[in-house]
């Protein structure tokens, strides 16, 4: 048995596949290939799939990690990628396979970009966002497991915030906590930010580019 980490992109409408649905979708994809996936033993055998960290619904992901176990130690790794991509749904693409270096529990935060299309005045919008993020607290209510809500002040956790603009877009880049212990949902953060500047329904596209560990280095 051999553990490997595969890296995939989840883009376009595939970003609307929820985490639970993605698990089912990938298990079925493996079943359409000849990849010798390792199944748990017991009464109800199921394949062993561990995602680095779930993506919030509606967020695109670049290089998302997924750990699997193979029964056959000699199965060519590049063939895993080839086989999976040949049966995959549009929007999901496997890009790399490697030995896992870090443990999934080491994931601490995520680096995100947000692209906001705007037909005019991208400069004005960009300045407004910058000003708001620097001067004000971006807060939102988060549902907690016990029931009820907890107010999260995203500004306390926001790191490396950058904003710039081109003729047609405003682009944001930032880091927010994302891991087993504590996560600030980038969707909630963006919604709260846009509500604060009075642009509640503004179209935007959120992408997670990297998963980082506590020391700020990339998860591998």
């Amino acid at each position: 048995m051999r553990s490997v980490r595969i890296w995939f992109n989840k883009k376009d409408t595939a970003k609307y596949i929820s985490h639970l649905d993605l698990t089912r979708c990938l298990i079925r994809a493996f079943r359409r290939t000849d990849i010798p996936l390792w199944y748990t033993e017991g009464f109800n055998p199921h394949p062993h799939l561990v995602f680095g960290l779930s993506l919030p619904l509606g967020v695109e992901g670049i290089r998302e990690p997924l750990d699997i176990r193979l029964n056959d130690d000699n199965y060519p790794l590049e063939r895993v990628i080839e086989q999976l991509n040949s049966v995959m749904v549009p929007g999901i693409e496997f890009v790399e396979i490697a030995e896992p270096l870090n443990k999934p529990l080491a994931i601490h935060s995520g680096e995100y970009t947000v692209q906001i299309p705007c037909e005019s005045n991208s400069k004005v919008l960009c300045e407004l966002i910058k000003k708001t993020v620097t001067e004000k607290d971006i807060t939102f209510d988060k549902k907690v497991k016990k029931g009820g809500f907890k107010t999260i002040n995203a500004s306390e956790h926001l790191k490396n915030f950058h904003a710039n603009y081109t003729d047609n877009y405003v682009n944001l880049r930032f880091i927010l906590p994302a891991g087993n212990d504590f996560t600030v949902n980038p969707v909630s953060f963006c919604n709260a930010l846009f509500e604060k500047i009075g642009r509640k329904d503004i179209l935007h596209r959120i992408t997670r580019h990297k998963l980082l560990m506590k020391d700020g280095t990339e998860f591998k």
Binding site: Y16, S18, D21, C25, R32, G58, V87, V89, G91, L203
Partner: protein, 620 residues
């Protein structure tokens, strides 16, 4: 552009993957090379519609033709619909995201009566006139067609649907589309096309039939015009081995009700339970061979990645070579970790051998449809199971380790007395006793008998089509009687909403005057009527009042054998004289043997060149 407007609302709705398309095996074609575009509409939510086998078959069938493109459409959930209406987004096909008005044909499948308002809602969301009469005389407006089991009485939707496809769709669908393609190419009018379509066997064009009524509201006459046939024959596929079956299923992202490979092993039913519309409507019996079933389902498992295969038919264990079939399927399914499920087992031929074979895969629940509580009433409905057989099977199941049994019953059956109703309790109690009589019962575990008690709805094309349905008050009284006479917590009852049952009864045997009621109820906010939480009974009752029609006339009235029934011009193949004789036998609690013991000459094979697989010589 519409696609952008649609994209913008995905983040705002629940489970957006129901509206995005892009599922595995969904078919994308280049519009420029397409002659006809078909929108296959299921008038309920995605989760329900994506479970429907008929849609999978017809979707693949139409798409197998290079010049046709079939897309899927479902009723948007309430949150989605509200946003679509707010932002003026019309109903769209999941594959192309084009508005339905851009399609050539819009086809609805009618699986249950209480989906009728959803059909209207989906037309309304597409900005297509609700009534056929208001769609002009050009073929530019999509042709609205409908099929499915409800079309054995299509009349309640007669004013909204241009053409009904009566019976099985695999053959008539392409004949119909080819004709439409030809008429579109020559620039024909809508009216000329509909007249020509009515000549295809199995196509019913309701606007070509004039219905006159007597003073008492019954039908005086139904007259065919413009050369349409006096009786429209149900279409029957003769050979299930050679008929089209998909190689691929669209595999949804979100979890749907039936999320697995489904394989139909035969059509029809040999049993002849007198309440059962499907049992008569899908006759004659036609079986697929073991070899075809195995090859086709193996291919489907391979192209979908599903880990479950479910066989589908009425009373699956009546398949003549069921043991051989299971051996063959389990032979390749078990090594591939595929679970084989056989959902429709009849209790009397649930053999030890069969049980053992199914125990190889994951154990599923044990469900028996006893239907009635006393032997007399089971004889009335021709459900030929004895109490001893039910208890015997339960005993074996309990010995095998089962601790929960589901029993299905109906109340409101013809000739039913309170004694029969209480019999449901007594039978359930005997099942409980059977558990405790088992010396090897699992320690520390109780038994749970769950009795699903639905209310009988008389349906067209059955021996009970003339019978009055119990009133809502009577059904509620019988439900109460069951609760009052039950003294144990080991038995749990689940009842159907009597208001829903009542309305289902009205539409099942309704005539085309009900079109006004449906339109009125829809305009006053009725949709998703089969959903308890969305059903608006008062609005429906007001609609009947507004249209001057009585619900009791349709649901609670006994019809005479001589009365012209609204569906008499639809020929299911089953002879009226057979249904009458079955009705008379029911009154005397006389049973009819199943088709393999003795052919009852129902007449259904008349639409299949005299062939019926129940009559094969190598049968039991």
């Amino acid at each position: 552009m519409l696609s952008n407007k649609i994209e913008a609302i995905f983040p705002l709705v629940q489970k957006p993957a129901r509206y995005t398309g892009g599922e595995l095996n969904s078919v994308i074609k280049n519009k420029d090379n397409i002659d006809l575009r078909f929108a296959f509409c299921f008038p309920d939510t995605y989760e329900i519609g994506m479970s429907h086998l008929g849609m999978k078959i017809l979707y693949s069938l139409i798409n197998s033709r290079e010049n046709f493109w079939c897309e899927r459409v479902f009723a948007p959930d309430t949150d989605m619909e509200n946003i679509m209406r707010e932002r003026n987004i019309p109903l769209f096909g999941l594959e192309s995201r084009d508005a339905l008005a851009d399609f050539d044909v819009i086809g609805f499948t009618l699986q249950y009566e209480l989906s009728f308002t959803n059909v209207l809602n989906m037309l309304d969301l597409s900005n297509i006139p609700l009534r056929s009469a208001n769609r002009g005389d050009s073929l530019k407006t999509p042709i609205i067609i409908a099929g499915g089991p409800c079309v054995c009485n299509p009349e309640p939707l007669a004013d909204f649907i241009d053409c009904f496809q009566i019976g099985e769709g695999e053959e008539v669908m392409l004949e119909f589309l080819d004709l439409l393609n030809e008429y579109k190419k020559k620039g024909a009018s809508r009216c000329d096309f509909l007249k020509a379509a009515s000549k295809i066997e199995g196509i019913y064009v309701p606007s070509l039939y004039n219905v006159e009524y007597n003073a008492d509201g019954t039908i005086k006459s139904v007259t065919a015009t413009d050369g349409a046939p006096e009786k429209v024959n149900k279409r029957v596929v003769s050979d299930l081995d050679s008929v089209f079956y998909p190689e691929k299923f669209v595999v949804p992202f979100v979890e749907v009700v039936h999320d697995r490979v489904v394989h139909e092993i035969f059509r029809g039913c040999i049993r002849g339970c007198r309440f059962c519309q499907a049992g008569f409507w899908y006759r004659p019996i036609r079986e697929k061979t073991v070899d075809t079933i195995s090859k086709q389902s193996r291919r489907l498992a391979c192209t979908s990645g599903y880990d479950e295969l479910s066989l589908c038919s009425l009373s699956s264990s009546d398949y003549t070579k069921i043991t051989e079939l299971l051996e063959e399927l389990l032979g390749w399914a078990i090594p591939q970790k595929i679970n084989v499920a056989l959902p429709s087992l009849r209790i009397d031929n649930f053999s030890d051998e069969l049980k053992e074979k199914l125990a190889l895969v994951r154990r599923s629940g044990l469900t028996f449809a006893a239907e009635a509580g006393t032997q007399r009433l089971r004889d009335v409905i021709n459900k030929n199971i004895s109490e001893a057989e039910i208890l015997d099977t339960c005993r074996k199941a309990f010995v095998g380790g089962w601790t929960a049994v589901k029993l299905y019953f109906m109340i409101g059956l013809p000739t039913e007395t309170d004694e029969d109703v209480i019999g449901i309790n007594q039978l359930s109690q005997k099942v409980v006793d059977e558990f405790y009589n088992n010396p090897d019962k699992p320690k520390g575990k109780g038994v749970n008998v769950s009795a699903g008690v639905s209310s009988f709805v008389p349906k067209p094309c059955t021996p009970f089509q003339w019978e009055p349905q119990d009133t809502r008050e009577e059904l509620k009284r019988k439900q109460q009687l069951l609760l009052e006479t039950c003294s144990t917590k080991k038995i749990t009852f689940r009842f159907h909403n009597t208001d829903l049952t009542f309305l289902e009864g009205v539409f099942a045997r309704g005539d085309r005057r009900l079109c006004d009621v449906i339109e009125t109820a829809f305009k006053n906010g009725c949709k998703f009527d089969s959903w308890d939480d969305k059903f608006k009974f008062d609005v429906w009752m007001n609609a009947f009042e507004e249209c001057g029609l009585s619900t009791e006339f349709y649901a609670n009235r006994r019809r005479s054998y001589e009365e012209i029934l609204p569906w008499d011009h639809i020929n299911s193949g089953i002879k009226k004289s057979f249904l009458i004789s079955e009705n008379e036998k029911a009154k005397k609690a006389e049973i009819t043997n199943h088709c393999r013991q003795q052919c009852a000459a129902c007449g259904s094979n008349s639409l299949n060149g005299g062939k019926c697989d129940a009559l094969c010589k190598n049968m039991v």
